[in-house]
Amino acid sequence: MSELDPIIAVVDDDPAVREGVCSLLRSAGLKTEIFASGKEFLAHPWADLPSCLVLDLQLPELTGLDLQKWMADANLEIPIVFITGHGDIPASVQAIKAGAVEFLTKPVDEQQLLRAIVEGVERDRATRGRHAQTRELRQRYDSLTAREQEVMRQVVSGLLNKQVAAELEITEFTVKVHRGNVMRKMQAASLADLVRMAEKLGIGPGAGR
């Protein structure tokens, strides 16, 4: 195992379950971290490593679904493998919809669990890759001046230079200068490229950033 090996978080209020799962994962050569509740999990400083969360659906206070929602809201995109005592169909539907990797019932089948975790880790790796790209673009974007960012938002929304100048109440020439800077700083080969980047950054007309 190396520093970059994935870490599997197990959250279950029942020690029998979390220790059992943990032991199983360790026997499969995985690193684990165990937590008795969602709050405990959230309070933990999360290393920037590929990971996967094995989460009990019926947690006290903050339930598994609550935690999933909370993480989504917090952009914490750790893949979740749900485990539950009973095959509660509405809950499983909700969980899968919200992006859960798998929804398993206890007692959990070893192969299913490991397969789901492997899938989750893979998914996390992919997400991480994606996120790294976005972070790069964001850095480029952040290096733009406020005016350049404004010009970029107008350009990617499909406005012509003249229209941009009118909108910003500046000269067309100035727009061109800014646009040139944007293309350079963003390392965009073409306008289409820049539009794709804006899309990744979630930038549209009127967006704050």
Binding site: A16, S23, P60, T63, G85, V108, E110
Partner: protein, 780 residues
């Protein structure tokens, strides 16, 4: 001078005799008197005999003859020869004649003198003796054969009062007014025959008082053997006699007392063989005095007691005082309890010479003890919860033990009839034939007793109209008397009848009545108590059934939660099992990890087992005993079961369990049922509520109580329905059975606690209950 005098005195006679002889010789020789002067020599011989012993007398006589012859020879020449010769011959003849006479006389006189001397010695001896006798304290007197007192010692004077001067010379029996124990002739005969006599005499003293004398007579004879006197020695034995008589009297009295005393007395030899039994024994046992001796008495000992009793008696013979309780058969065959006590009598060396003993009839005491013990036994049976038939059976047997010959039966009142309950000794065919009896004035003996509420004594079944219906039946079973007594409850209600049957006509004695009184009272207590108990059991069984239903129905509601609770450890087991296999299946198996996982498998498996047993206990119908419980733990187990349910319903549970909570005495299952009921009510009340919080707390409160509080934030209960929720079948839930709180309250009450509901200031209600804390020591 005296010697000289006495010499002359004693020599005077021989000198005179010599002179006389000389004078006679001269006269014979010189004178020519034609008479025989020589005859005078006779005088000389006579005189000589006075002072000479026989041989010298003979010499004197011979001398006189020679002198005579000499005188003749001298005178022959001068006188006529013939005449001289004749005179000489006459003289010699006279001497020769007189000398033997003199000698004979002298011998007689000598003998006489000797006798006189002897007598003198005798008298002196006697006097000496008499002086000695005077010194003794015994009374001694001598009387001659005519009864005249010749000697009277000082002892006699002291004894009789008369002095020797007064007594000597009197006829003894006149003086002493003797009363002889036998005719005097016989006494005399014995004295003459044997020379002695001994006996007791009554004599009158000088002062007129009579005294008993122990007298010894001995006959005194002289040397010829002739009876001369009676020596009589006497002692006053009046005092001794009185003591003896008194002793005899007291002996007699003691014997009389022993014979007549109401207890049985015995004496035995050191080896334990009976040597005497008093009349009380022979009268009681019917054994003759002879038959009871040795070990004959043992035939009367109860066969069950004989071995123990006899061996105990024999062990005690070593010297320990003997004490034992034993049954002896009386003459009429009845056995009665006796307390036998024996003590050894020892001689001065401590050797046991005899045993004395006493048998005290303790039958009545024993019976009272037995009755008391029996009563105690029966009350214990009642308290212990033995079945009524068992108790009544024991009661009948107690009566039969107490009143020998009786056959007891108990009939229980059931509506207007009497049902046979117990009759251990009555013939089955009899009780079966009677079966149930109606209660009525003339129904039957027992029916009448129950109807009248008083004793019905049928002295003789043969003639009593109450037995008209069953007479033949009773007689066929040789039952002749029947006494029926109603048994009352404490409310004076007849609950049963108690009957005593006898095989002979009979009326109850006062002792019987006392027994009846006690037994019917006891029966009343037992029956009432048992019936109340049965009623209580029935009700509590009903309650237990309802409680069980409630539990089962709650369990039904919680199936999902329970399944989840059970699934958790199973999940652990499966995961750990898989892990274990993996650890072992590696190229280099990790045994430490495998061992750890296996340990967890065991732990989780146990936990699953515990959950199942808790669930089984909750679902079980059997009543578990109350034990010392920690309520925190008890409630914790319930929370484990409902945990999943609360999670599913998104209900937050907050607990506040007091540290150091006092233990309580309780039925775990029942108390968990109560907590479960309250929690489920709370969960149900919070369906659709905005805030879903359940608060559970425990704490110690005053008066040795523990309180449990469960508060919810549910919809609450209308204030007017607050008490109604405890009514059975009242429910605020659409599908509720309406039993939960009612059952919970009765469970808490049976634990000696209280359960109540209050409305919260905010939403929801608070349910609380209290239970007394566990007390060390015996619990009712």
């Amino acid at each position: 001078m005296d010697a000289m005098n006495s010499f002359f005195k004693s020599a005077r006679l021989p000198i005179a005799t010599g002179v006389l002889a000389t004078a006679i010789f001269i006269a014979d020789t010189v004178t020519r008197i034609d008479i025989a002067v020589a005859v005078l020599y006779v005088v000389v011989v006579l005189l000589a005999a006075k002072f000479c012993s026989p041989s010298p007398v003979m010499l004197v006589a011979v001398g006189c003859v020679i002198l005579t012859i000499l005188s003749y020879l001298i005178t022959r020449s001068s006188g006529p020869a013939v005449e001289g010769m004749v005179n000489t011959i006459i003289g010699i003849a006279a001497i020769a004649l007189i000398t033997p006479l003199v000698l004979k006389d002298q011998a007689g006189t000598h003998a006489l003198r000797q006798a006189r001397d002897r007598l003198q010695v005798e008298v002196e001896k006697k006097t000496q003796q008499a002086l000695l006798l005077d010194q003794t304290h015994d009374s001694i007197f001598l009387r001659n054969m005519s009864g005249v007192i010749t000697f009277w010692n000082r002892g006699a004077q002291e004894l009789y009062g008369w002095s020797a001067e007064e007594a000597v010379g009197k006829v003894a029996e006149d003086l002493l007014q003797t009363v002889f124990p036998m005719p005097l002739k016989e006494i005399d005969g014995e004295v003459m025959r044997k020379g002695r006599w001994e006996g007791e005499l009554i004599r009158t003293k000088k002062d007129g008082s009579q005294a008993v004398m122990a007298s010894r007579w001995s006959l005194q004879r002289d040397h010829t053997g002739a009876a001369v006197a009676l020596l009589e020695t006497s002692n006053d034995i009046t005092d001794r006699k009185r003591v003896e008589e008194a002793a005899q009297q007291s002996d007699k009295e003691i014997r009389d007392v022993l014979e007549k005393m109401p207890a049985i007395f015995f004496a035995a030899s050191p080896d334990g063989a009976a040597t005497f039994q008093n009349r009380a024994w022979t009268e009681y046992s019917g054994l003759s005095a002879e038959a009871s001796l040795g070990n004959g008495w043992t035939v009367a000992v109860h066969p069950d007691d004989v071995e123990r009793h006899v061996s105990k008696w024999l062990t005690c013979l070593g010297g320990k005082p003997f004490e034992d309780e034993v049954r002896h058969r009386s003459v009429n065959g009845e056995y009665r309890w006796f307390l036998t006590r024996g003590v050894p009598l020892r001689d001065e060396h401590g050797k046991i010479v005899k045993w004395y003993g006493l048998l005290t009839d303790i039958e009545d005491r024993k019976r009272a003890e037995c009755l008391l013990a029996g009563e105690k036994r029966i009350l214990e049976m009642v308290a212990k919860g033995d079945s009524l038939p068992e108790i009544l059976d024991a009661l009948c047997r107690l009566v039969e033990e107490q009143a020998s010959g009786t056959l007891a039966s108990i009939l229980l009142v059931e509506g207007d009839r009497l049902r046979r309950a117990e009759a251990p000794s009555l013939p089955r065919s009899f009780t079966d034939a009677i079966g149930e009896t109606a209660i009525g004035p003339l129904a039957s003996c027992c029916g009448a007793a129950a109807y009248r509420g008083e004793q019905v004594i049928v002295e003789d079944v043969q003639i009593d109209p109450l037995w008209a219906d069953y007479r033949d039946l009773a007689l066929r079973h040789s039952l002749r008397a029947c006494w029926s007594i109603p048994v009352f409850s404490s409310q004076r209600k007849v609950v049963a009848t108690f009957a005593m049957y006898y095989r002979e006509p009979r009326r109850p004695s006062s002792r019987d009545q006392e027994l009846i009184e006690q037994i019917t009272h006891l029966a009343g207590v037992a029956i009432e108590r048992k019936q109340a108990e049965e009623e209580r059991d029935r009700v509590s069984q009903l309650e237990a059934d309802l409680a069980h239903m409630n539990r089962v129905s709650m369990m039904g509601d919680m199936t999902a939660s329970i399944a989840h609770e059970l699934n958790q450890p199973l999940a652990g087991v499966v995961s750990n099992g898989s892990a274990c296999l993996r650890w072992l299946g590696r190229d280099s198996p990790n045994l430490e990890e495998a061992r750890e996982t296996a340990r967890r498998i065991v732990r989780d498996g146990k936990r699953a087992g515990e959950i199942i047993s808790r669930i089984r206990a909750l679902a079980s119908k059997t009543v578990t005993p109350k034990t010392r419980l920690d309520l925190n733990e008890t409630i914790g187990e319930v929370l484990a079961l409902v945990g999943d349910e609360t999670k599913r319903r998104s209900i937050a549970i907050r607990t506040e369990f007091a540290d150091g909570l006092d233990p309580v005495l309780g039925d775990r299952v029942q108390l968990q049922q109560v907590v479960l009921n309250i929690i489920m009510n709370g969960l149900d009340a919070m369906n659709g509520a905005l805030s879903k919080r359940l608060f559970i707390a425990t704490c110690n409160i005053d008066h040795g109580q523990v309180r449990v509080t469960v508060a919810d934030t549910g919809t609450g209960i209308d204030p007017d329905k607050m008490e109604k929720v405890f009514d059975p079948f009242f429910s605020t839930k659409p599908h509720g059975m309406g039993m939960g709180l009612s059952i919970s309250r009765s469970i808490i009450q049976s634990h000696g606690g209280r359960l109540w509901l209050t409305a919260n200031d905010g939403p929801g209600v608070t349910t609380q209950f209290t239970i007394p804390q566990y007390q060390e020591g015996p619990v009712e």
